[in-house]
Amino acid sequence: MNRYDCFEFLAPLIKDQLVIGSLSGQRVEWGHLCRHEGNLLVASMGAALGMGIGLALVLPHRKVIVLESDGSLLLSLYNLPTLGNLSLTNLVIFVFDNEVYSGTRISEPSATAGKTDLAGVARSCGIEGATTVREIDSFKREAKKAVEENVLRFVVCKVDPTTGHRQIERPNEDLWEHKYRFVRYLERTEGKKIFLGRG
C-alpha cells in the first residue's frame, strides 16, 4: 500500500474536520493534496498526536484527524495511555507505518519492522478497536468510517517506504503563517476569538 494513494482517497473526504500532521514525507504529500484551512501540519516528530488530543478535548463537537508516522509515534508512545484513559469520540489517528526511519535518507528499520505491533500497544493502553490495515481497500473503509462515525479510531496503515515526496515542491508558507491560517479558520468557523492578546 502506498501512502500517497491513501491520501488521494482521504483528501476529498475532508470538509470541516481538523487534520493534524506530523513530520516526514507525509507532511509534504498531504499539504500538496489537501490545501484545507483546517490543516495544522506541525512539522515535528512526536507532537501531532498530543496536539490532536488537545484540540479534540476543547472542541468536542469537531472531528480531529491525526496523521502520524511510525517514527513519530514511537517517539511519543506516552500519548497512548493518556488517550486510552480519555473518552474522546471525535478523534481519529492514522499511523502511516513504513517500518523505516527515512528522514536521514538512510532507511534504517524502525521497531515496527521487528516485533513491535503499534495497534497492539494501543489496545493494551485501552484504545479499543485499534487495528492495522495493509491493503488500500481496507484503508478506504477505515477512512470512510473515520469521517462518518463518532468513535475513537486508531488505524495503523502499513505502507511501502517511498521517496515520492522528494519530487513535490515544498510550500513557501512558514509555520507562523500556517498557524495563523489555521487559527483564523477556527475563529471563523467556531465564532470565537482564539488569540486573546491585543495586537
Partner: protein, 136 residues
Amino acid sequence: MPVLREDPSFMLIPVANESEGVSIAAGASLGGRPAAVYMEGSGVYVSSYNLLVLGKRLGVPMLLLVAYYGSILDVRNSFLYAFPGIHLIPILQSLDIQYEVFHNGDSLEDKIKGAVKMMHAIKQPVALLFTGEFTA
C-alpha cells in the same frame, strides 16, 4: 490539584510526562482554550524539545507553572534537587522563554495576570517558577 479538580472552569488532564503535557496544551491553546502545564523543574528538561518546536517555533501561548525545587531559596533543597535547580533558569534563557520567580505570595494574582497577558501578547510560553515559601 484538588482545588483545580473541583473547579468546573478548569479541564484537568493527567499526562504521562511533561513533554506530552506541552503538546496537549498546545493543541488546547490553538483550539481556543487558554492552557497551563503544571510541572516540577525537571519537567522543563523533559519537555524542552516540544517547548522549542511548539512553544517557540510554532508560537503557541501557554503558561508553565513550575515548582522550582533546587533554587537557593528552596527550603527543602538537597543533593537531588540542587543540580536540576541550578540549570533550570539557564535552560529557560537558552529557549528564550520569559519567566518570573515567585518567592512568596506577594502580589501573586497581579503577577499571574501579567504573565497571562504576556503569553497572549507574544504567543509563546511564559514560565512562573515557584520557590521559597512555596517549597515548604
